[in-house]
Amino acid sequence: MAVGTMQRRKADVDETPDLDLYALLTGDDPTAQRALTILYRRYSQRIYTYCRKITGDNQTAEDLLQETFVKLFDAGKQGRSIDNFPAYLMTIARNLCLSHRARSKRQYVPVEDFHLTVRDVPYEHKELLHLIHMALELIPEDYREAFVLREYNGLAYNEIAEVIGESLDVVKVRIFRAKKKIREILAPYLEDLNHKA
C-alpha cells in the first residue's frame, strides 16, 4: 500500500530517430538486436493495442504483435527503404490483422472479451471505457479502425491514410463520423457525467 504522495520525474531515455534504428537492423546481430529491442519497446504498446482492438483477443493480438516485428526485422535485414516508420509498422500490423480476420471469419467480438486495462482507473472512467468499447462495436469497421488509429495509436490523418490506403478526405470523414456516432451512443451517459461534474 502506498502512503503519501509519490514524486515522479520523467525523462526521455531514447531519442534516436526511428529510421536510424531501423537502419541498424542491417547490422550484425548484437546491433540489430539492440535496435529492434528499442523499437519494440517504443511501439509494442501501440501495435498491441491496435491488434487487440481489431481482433478482440489477447492471444491473437500478442501473436500478431510478434509477427509484425518479425516482418519489420526481415524488412530491415533486407534493407528495404521506408519513409514513415510508424505508418509502415502500422501497415504491417493492419495487413496481418486483416489476414487474420479473413482466416477466422470472426466479425463480432464479445464485449466481455474486449476490455483489459493495465492501470487502475476510477470507477467512472472504467464505466466510460466500457461504454466506449460497446460503442466501438456498434459502428462500422472502417470507422472503428480509423478511430482506433487516431485515438489509440495517435497517428496523424495522413499517416492513417497511408496505412489504410485511402485518401486524406476519406480518413477525415471516417474519423469525424466515428466520433459523432460514438458521442451519440454515449450521449445519455456523457450528459449525466457532465451534469455531475
Binding site: M1, A2, V3, G4, M6, Q7, R8, R9, K10, A11, D12, V13, D14, E15, L24, T31, A32, Q33, R34, L36, T37, I38, Y40, R41, R42, S44, Q45, Y48, T49, R52, A61, E62, Q66, F73, T117, V118, H125, L128, L129, I132, R150, E151, Y152, A156, Y157, E166, S167, D169, K172, V173, I175, F176, K180, I182, R183, L186, A187, L190, L193, N194
Partner: protein, 418 residues
C-alpha cells in the same frame, strides 16, 4: 452516405479537426473560436470529446512481458533482458545508464544477501559444537581444579561419601534472575537402611554408580553450574543423575519496535511522501523463541524505497523516479549467539533475515546483523546494520530497489506461552 462527399468544414468538423491537430488554417481556427464562444452546443460537444479522449488515453494496453523475449528468441537473438543489461549503447547512452543502474542494484542486492547468508551460516553451524564442547571442557577443567584441591577433596566411594553443600546460581536466558537452590542429597544404602532424616545442608552423599568423577564443590562458579540455556540445563541434568535440572528454559515472546534506514543521502532532502507518512521507516515485530538461539516471528512496517524504473508512456521511453512509502510484512528468523561477551552478560550479537511482501509492490527481503543488550528485566535495546531489497514490476518488467543503513530497536519480553 458516401465517404467521398466531404464538404468544407462546418463548426463541429472544425472542432474535431482542431482537437486532432489537423486544422491548419488560422482563419478556420478563428472561426471555430467564435463559434465556441457563441454556441453552448458546440462547447458541450467539445467537453464530450475531451471526456472520451481522456478515457481512451487511460485505456493503455500493454503486451505481456514475455513477448519481447519470445520475439527475440524467434529471431535467433538473445533475450531482451540481456539487451538491457548490456546497455543499448548502439542507439543511445541513456539506455546504457539505465541498464547500469539496474545491474548495480542487482549486484549490491546479491552481495548483501551473500554477506548476510555467510554471517547466518557462520553463526549457525559452529556454535552448537562450541557450546557443547565448552560445557564439557568447563566441566573437565572443573574436575581437575577440584582434584587439585587435595586437602578438601577425596575420591568418592560407596563407603566414603564426600560432603557437598551446593549453592547453584541460575541465570535464565533473556531474564537475568538469580535463584538459589539447595540440592537434595542422594541417600546412601546405609542411610536408607537406617532411615535417618538428614539435613540437606550437611548431607553425606555417596557417589552414584553412574558418575565416574567427583561432583563440583559448593563454591564453584563456572558455566556448568550456571546453565544459561536449554542445552546447558540438559547437560547439567545428564551430568548429575538423580538431580533435576535447576534451569527450566522458559521461552519469552518478544515484541520489538525498530527504526529502518530511509535510504537517502545525508544531503538529500526528505521527500514529501516520507514527510507525510505516519511513522515512516518503522517496523514492529513479534518473535517466538524456538530455543535460546533461534527465533521465529513476523514483522511489519512502513518503509520508503527509492524507485527508478523505465517504462513506455504515450509511446516514449521514460525513466520514472519516485520514493513511495510502502507497507510490508513478512516472516522473520533470528539467530542470536549466547555467551560471546563474557565481560558483559546480557550482550549478544545476532543475525536476522526477513522475507515478505510489500503491498501492491512485490516481494521484499531484508537482513540484519547487530548487537542486543539486555541489562536487566524484560527490556532490550539493539543496534544493527540493516539491508533490504524490493522487487517490483511496471508494465510487465521487473525492477529492484535496495538500501542499507543503521537500525535501532527496543524489545520487550512479553512472557511465556507455556
Amino acid at each position: 452516405m458516401s465517404d467521398m462527399n466531404y464538404t468544407p468544414l462546418n463548426p463541429d468538423e472544425a472542432l474535431h479537426a482542431f482537437m486532432d491537430g489537423e486544422l491548419d488554417s488560422a482563419a478556420e481556427e478563428q472561426h471555430l473560436f467564435d463559434e465556441l464562444a457563441a454556441s453552448p452546443d458546440l462547447r458541450g460537444e467539445m467537453k464530450d470529446a475531451l471526456s472520451i479522449r481522456a478515457a481512451v488515453h487511460r485505456d493503455l494496453l500493454a503486451p505481456p512481458a514475455s513477448s519481447e523475449g519470445a520475439l527475440l528468441s524467434s529471431l535467433g537473438l538473445a533475450s531482451g533482458t540481456a539487451v538491457t543489461a548490456s546497455g543499448a549503447s548502439a542507439a543511445t547512452g541513456a539506455s546504457a545508464v539505465t541498464a547500469g543502474m539496474g545491474m548495480r542494484t542487482l549486484l549490491s542486492t546479491a552481495v548483501l544477501c551473500l554477506v548476510t547468508g555467510f554471517v547466518v551460516a557462520w553463526l549457525l553451524l559452529p556454535r552448537e559444537t562450541i557450546n557443547q564442547s565448552n560445557g564439557i571442557a568447563g566441566y573437565t577443567s572443573q574436575q581437575q581444579g577440584a582434584q587439585q584441591q587435595g586437602t578438601q577433596q577425596q575420591q568418592p566411594t560407596a563407603s566414603a561419601p564426600v560432603r557437598i553443600d551446593t549453592v547453584v546460581a541460575i541465570r535464565y536466558v533473556n531474564r537475568p534472575v538469580v535463584v538459589r537452590q539447595e540440592v537434595a542429597p542422594i541417600p546412601t544404602p546405609a542411610d536408607q537402611n537406617a532411615q535417618t532424616p538428614q539435613s540437606p545442608a550437611s548431607t553425606e552423599v555417596a557417589a552414584n554408580e553412574t558418575v565416574s568423577t567427583i561432583e563440583p564443590t559448593a563454591t564453584r562458579n563456572d558455566a556448568f553450574l550456571h546453565p544459561r540455556s536449554t542445552s546447558d540445563a540438559m547437560l547439567w541434568s545428564a551430568r548429575k543423575p538423580g538431580y533435576e535440572s535447576p534451569a527450566v528454559y522458559s521461552p519469552q515472546v518478544i515484541a520489538r519496535v525498530r527504526t529502518l534506514a530511509n535510504g537517502l543521502e545525508a544531503s538529500e532532502p526528505t521527500p514529501e511522501s516520507v514527510q507525510q507518512a505516519f511513522l515512516p521507516n518503522t517496523a514492529i515485530a513479534l518473535m517466538y523463541p524456538l530455543n535460546d538461539n533461534h527465533r521465529l516471528g513476523f514483522e511489519m512496517g512502513t518503509e520508503s524505497f527509492r524507485q527508478e524504473y523505465t517504462g513506455v508512456e504515450d509511446g516514449r521511453d521514460v525513466i520514472i523516479n519516485q520514493t513511495p512509502v510502502l507497507m510490508w510484512m513478512g516472516a522473520t528468523y533470528q539467530y542470536q549467539m549466547t555467551d560471546v561477551f563474557s565481560f558483559l552478560p546480557g550482550l549478544y550479537p545476532f543475525a536476522e533475515m526477513t522475507l515478505g511482501m510489500a503491498f501492491e509492490q512485490g516481494p521484499l527481503g531484508r537482513g540484519q546483523i547487530g548487537l542486543a543488550y539486555q541489562p536487566i528485566g524484560p527490556l532490550r535495546i539493539s543496534v544493527g546494520f540493516d539491508g533490504s531489497a524490493l522487487i517490483y514490476s511496471h508494465q510487465g518488467n521487473s525492477f529492484t530497489s535496495s538500501k542499507w543503513g543503521f537500525t535501532y530497536g527496543l524489545s520487550f519480553d512479553l512472557g511465556t506461552l507455556r
